[in-house]
Symmetry: C2
Subunit: 160 residues, 2 copies
């Protein structure tokens, strides 16, 4: 008997959705002039590179942790990253890492309660949604930085 429940969204679809967002974030990093990427700030906030390092500390390590069950503390600081090319290289490595570990997460796991980075309790899906939502949030902040620098950001709805 065919009593399967339709899935609202599949695991593959969610990965592609996120990687679409991540490709857009990469283009926002690229849109910043080298200097302003690391130094520019509004209202006492971090530079956009500082926000990107937070995203690098969360996304790929978070997916690796969910896939393997091996918990590591959150690390949002990367030493010696002073150039756009270095940041983009870390971004691309994270892209690969997410693609590698994601298929190791079973669909059943998404509803299980976990303590991500040994610190934040929630379901697997809510943890992953946090990774994605937090990226969209900080990228939105980056859009204002770019606009205030007179630079037109990439279209929000274009996910290459």
């Amino acid at each position: 008997m065919n009593t399967t429940t339709a899935s609202l969204i599949t695991s593959e679809e969610l990965l592609a959705h996120w990687q679409g967002h991540r490709a857009l974030t990469r283009r926002v990093i690229e849109a910043f002039p080298e200097k302003e990427l690391f130094n520019y700030s509004i209202g006492g906030m971090r530079s956009f590179s500082g926000m990107v390092m937070e995203l690098l500390g969360i996304g790929a390590p978070g997916i690796q942790e969910i896939a393997t069950g091996q918990i590591n503390p959150l690390n949002e600081h990367f030493e010696g990253i002073t150039q756009k090319e270095q940041l983009l290289k870390l971004w691309d490595e994270a892209t690969e890492k997410i693609n590698t570990y994601w298929p190791q997460i079973s669909e059943d796991q998404f509803s299980k309660v976990i303590t991500i980075f040994g610190q934040y309790e929630g379901t697997t899906w809510s943890s992953i949604f946090y990774f994605i939502d937090n990226e969209i949030h900080h990228r939105g902040e980056g859009y204002v930085y770019l606009r205030s620098l007179g630079i037109t950001p990439p279209f929000f709805y274009e996910r290459p």
Copy 2:
């Protein structure tokens, strides 16, 4: 036989997730001083109230359209809205409308291809994710406006 597929996230969970975000956005609207909500801008962008009107034009009308199948053109302009209280009232009405129409969307519908507002083709889930992601994006922009006004925004991770 129990051959059901685990759903990555349920429809009820996705609604609660979005309404958590919407409650945070409401608190960001509240955090703006009355005047700056309507007039303040960085880098030639819209005021935060202008962004909120876009969100009001998309969220509840979009869910109503998905639930009923009745297509209406996108309307992001609301005449005569000049006070924070008016904007918050529209926000609360949208909250109710989303809660009313959401349960009328069946889980099967989420994977169906639709043309939202008669204009944008995609699956139902990708349309709804766009509503949510676009809200997070513009709210992130609002955070920079608040910071540059010397106002501490509500915590991103607090979803009342």
